[in-house]
């Protein structure tokens, strides 16, 4: 496969590409938020008069200055600014616009808030006890999605029920029970978010480093009570999101501030703010699992209980909790299942999608649990998985019939790439883990036009967050039109020019927007062939598009260039198309035994992966060194090899971070102790080894373009579980907390030694 240089690449390597924080405008003011800086409290007094009086301050706004609207994806439980009560330290209380960032900072310090502290809720189990402090005392009055089952601090309750787990468990020859506790973690895009807002009469232009410009627009419309066509959200270059920049965030507050100040306003987050304030972080979990198997290793039943951390306000966390049930079933044959998931309010940062939300943490627990089960059965972990992994014709957790399922192939290939089974020195081991992830079929569209010189332009609403998904669209269109990918220009990530798009989330961009691109390219091809038929005196069945020409098959000397067709297409014709394509179906399933069904019941075009990780553990210090990784993904056809490789190596390293060094540390006062990169450790180039990557590469039915499936998120899923299993095999001690920091590894080794 030829190397395709991404269309945005030259600007990125030369430093000329503009990100949101790089923008400036005439009259630009600088915004800064006043955050709660306390875990839970009633606001007794909020006085902004001194801040407003400071020279150089143009506006200070609070909830009193914006429409009284509560919003939220499933539960409408929050307002743009704190109203009466603050429920986590990162809650926005007020916003300032001033001439300089320094004046804005001083103005924020002059805002006076008197708090009456309230007890904080941080423990997921204690939060559900009777008589405990409620995070939302008025929870019963909030508007909700009627599928959400709430009760006090329980933000949602969902279950995955199949067959009769109790009866099957009672008959099982071997039963293993385990409990795991995972810290939350952060998306940590290297670009802290930035938003610029400027009003033009009744319309507002917003530049935002968001993954989802259309969702951001919807939030501005809902909260500021504006029609969507009064709001334009454009995304300059975007410095990574990893889910942290999904959903609308601070666009409404910034727009409201600019309106109040009557000047354009720019908000740029510090790293600390980027850690604390977004309502998206990977949720902490408590996971209890029980699995029964026959003597030959066949799994017969699973029971379990999952508690996930909703945080102070409910975003998409209830859906993630429901989806996590599927990840606790895993890509395995489990005939009888009964697992419940409760999403629990706490006085901490709201949880929300971070790369493959719910999956890596659930898989970390499940894959350890399965290793514990295979040990109890006296089976090799790979042999155990080989026996139980889903294959074509098997039933998924909600009785979806599996098709084009290559989980086993990923297992075998990963074992082969890592050299599974070879003798290793003392203190070293290879751990294995599997994972799965759905694709998300949804509506998506593009416009495609050929300019008068034949140069093609793609206009899409899709968002490029770095993965290269949008940059891959020209490959697909170029194949249809016989044009090189470099020939295309792309207009993207702007709500005013492109069709609606779900944005850079759910690994859906290439899956859906790629389909739309092919449909539009086919339409342009059809228009070109119609024009060429007369000129070449040949029927369209005898014509082909090659190297920028329409030519007669078998007679390449009879041709007309696309450029010359485009130059004549200015009279009564336009080489102009839109494409949507046919959204692939989601497999039939039976989830009738389940409750709290919030949207994901079967896995469309599911992706599979197995990671094998070779570790070395120092028993004296608890330090884990990753010596090698083999990561094999089944994401159907690979459309862009370089881009796909980068998704896997990046996902694995994010997984290594989650496994070993990335954990949000919440103190007893509900405040985060490590909102800095010095204390919240990302993996560096020197920490991680070379990664062997494998793809199965078989075209999937009912999938994305050319039989492709989602790939952005899946590669971070199996890594933490594989590392945890490797640590247990290397030391004989199992670390039941995530991340496995040196202290936790050392403690587990000490406890095991004492036994």
């Amino acid at each position: 496969m030829a190397v395709v240089i991404r269309a945005d690449g030259k600007e990125k390597v030369t430093g000329t590409g503009r990100y949101a924080a790089d923008l400036t405008l005439t009259g630009l003011l600088h915004a800064r938020f006043k955050f709660a800086e306390i875990g839970h409290a009633r606001i007794r007094r909020l006085d902004t008069s001194k801040a407003k009086a400071l020279a150089g301050v143009f506006a200070v706004i609070t909830q009193a200055d914006v429409p009284d609207v509560r919003y939220g994806l499933f539960v409408k439980d929050r307002t743009l600014f704190a109203k009466d009560v603050v429920r986590w330290e990162g809650e926005v209380v007020a916003a300032v616009a001033a001439l300089t960032p320094e004046i804005a900072r001083r103005a924020v310090e002059l805002i006076e808030v008197d708090y009456e502290p309230l007890p904080v809720v941080t423990d997921l189990e204690a939060a559900l006890e009777a008589g405990v402090q409620l995070v939302h005392e008025g929870w019963a009055d909030y508007a909700i999605d009627e599928r959400v089952l709430r009760d006090g601090n329980q933000a949602s309750l969902s279950s995955l029920v199949k067959g009769d787990a109790d009866a099957a468990m009672a008959r099982a020859a071997v039963v293993v029970k385990s409990r795991y506790v995972a810290d939350g973690s952060s998306g940590v895009p290297i670009e802290p978010r930035a938003i610029v807002a400027e009003w033009h009469g009744d319309k507002v232009q917003i530049w935002s480093s968001t993954q989802v410009p259309f969702a951001a627009r919807t939030l501005v419309a809902e909260t500021l009570k504006l029609p969507e066509n009064a709001i334009r959200v454009s995304v300059p270059f975007m410095g990574g999101g990893f889910g942290a920049k999904c959903e609308g965030h601070f666009e409404p507050q910034t727009a409201a501030l600019a309106r109040a100040a009557k000047r354009p306003v720019k908000l740029v987050f510090s790293r600390r703010e980027e850690f604390l304030a977004p309502d998206h972080r990977r949720e902490g979990m408590i996971i209890e699992l029980e699995t029964g198997a026959d003597k030959d290793g066949t799994v017969v039943a699973r029971r379990g209980r999952l508690l996930t951390e909703n945080g102070a306000y409910s975003n998409d966390a209830p859906l993630i909790a429901q989806m996590a049930l599927h990840f606790l079933a895993g890509p395995y044959k489990v005939p009888n299942i009964n697992i419940t998931a409760q999403c629990v309010y706490t006085n901490t940062q709201p949880s929300g999608s971070i790369r493959a939300p719910g999956a890596p943490t659930a898989a970390w627990a499940l894959e350890q649990h399965l290793d514990e089960l295979s040990a109890a059965l006296g089976m090799d972990p790979v042999a155990f998985r080989r026996k139980n992994l889903l294959a074509d014709g098997d039933e998924g957790p909600t009785r979806q019939i599996m098709d084009s399922t290559h989980a086993l192939a990923t297992l075998d290939k990963a074992a082969e790439l890592i050299g599974y089974g070879r003798p290793l020195p003392e203190g070293e081991a290879i751990g294995i883990a599997c994972g799965w992830w759905p694709s998300f079929p949804m509506s998506s569209g593009i416009y495609l036009k050929l300019n008068a010189d034949g140069s093609p332009t793609i206009i899409t609403g899709a968002q490029e967050c770095g993965t290269g998904a949008v940059m891959t669209l020209p490959i697909l269109a170029g194949e249809v039109l016989g044009l090189p990918p470099e020939a295309f220009s792309i207009i993207y990530q702007d709500t005013e020019t492109g069709p609606w798009d779900g944005g850079a989330g759910g690994s859906q961009t290439l899956f859906n927007n790629g389909r739309a691109t092919i449909a539009a390219a086919e339409e342009i091809k059809s228009q070109l062939l119609k024009m060429a038929e007369d000129l070449l005196e040949a029927s369209r069945a005898d014509l082909e598009l090659v190297d920028g020409k329409v030519q007669v098959k078998g007679s390449p000397s009879r041709f007309v260039t696309i450029a010359s067709l485009a130059s004549t297409a200015t009279g009564d014709q336009q080489l102009l198309a839109s494409g949507v394509g046919v959204v692939p179906p989601t497999p039939a399933s039976d989830a009738s035994g389940c409750i709290g069904r919030l949207g994901v019941e079967s896995f469309a075009a599911p992706t599979f992966g197995t990671h094998a990780v070779h570790v070395k553990v120092d028993r004296e210090t608890g330090v884990v060194r990753i010596l090698g990784v083999a990561a094999v993904q089944d994401s159907g056809t690979i459309v862009n090899q370089t881009g796909a490789m980068g998704q896997v190596t990046g996902g694995v390293v994010m997984g290594i971070g989650q496994a070993l060094s990335e954990g949000i540390q919440v103190a007893s006062d509900a405040r985060v102790r490590n909102p800095y990169l010095l204390d919240y450790k990302l993996q560096t180039a020197a920490d991680v080894p070379p990664i062997k990557v494998g793809f199965i590469g078989i075209a999937a039915p009912d999938a994305g373009p050319k039989g492709s499936k989602g790939l952005g998120e899946p590669p971070c899923i199996p890594t933490p579980g594989a590392i945890a299993n490797a640590i247990a095999l290397a030391t004989g001690a199992r670390v039941r907390q995530l991340p496995a920091t040196p202290h936790r590894v050392w403690s587990a080794v000490q406890q095991e030694t004492k036994r």
């Binding site: 991404r6 030369t14 430093g15 924080a21 990574g240 770095g466 390293v653 800095y676 990169l677 020197a686």
Partner: protein, 162 residues
């Protein structure tokens, strides 16, 4: 109180008048308009703000602008010459070392300094050389490959020029 100084960035002399507390990063970005150098943490932890100071890589977020008075500063904007990409820039594109691009300028600056002091670095030397630059997208592997390829390319050009 403001002080006058001359910042020599990418071989252009910029007269500036700045408060003593201003960081080199803020002056480069806000006063000189060179926004290729990024702010990711303001804490010397991420490396997105790296520039070369007399050929040495420094985190410009933690360096006072006045300390750079009269010294040679190179930012990402100064690497391509006559419209031709620097070999490291080209290799980053060809190897897939660029995704979101936010760490890219700092990463390329670090790589430039590394190759200047170690013309043919091993992969381990490359990984140590960019350990101060965080990337969340790529897992570093394509960046290591890019720097290795660029070093080979540059060494080849140098020996053929001899």
């Amino acid at each position: 109180m403001k002080y006058t100084a001359t910042l020599r960035v990418n071989d252009i002399a910029y007269p500036v008048e700045i408060e003593p507390g201003r960081t080199l990063l803020s002056v480069i970005r806000d006063d000189l308009g060179l926004t290729g150098t990024k702010e990711g943490c303001d804490d010397s932890e991420c490396g997105a703000c790296m520039v070369l100071l007399d050929g040495r890589p420094v985190n410009s977020c933690s360096y006072l602008a006045l300390q750079a008075d009269g010294r040679a500063i190179t930012t990402i904007e100064g690497l391509a010459t006559d419209g031709e990409l620097h070999p490291i820039q080209r290799a980053m594109l060809e190897a897939g070392g660029v995704q979101c691009g936010f760490c890219t300028p700092g990463m390329i600056i670090s790589a430039t300094a590394l190759i200047a002091r170690t013309p043919r670095p091993t992969d381990d030397e490359i990984r140590a050389g960019i350990a101060g630059n965080l990337c969340r997208c790529t897992g570093y592997q394509p960046i290591v490959a890019a720097i290795s390829a660029a070093a080979a390319d540059m060494a080849g050009k140098q020996s053929s020029a001899r």
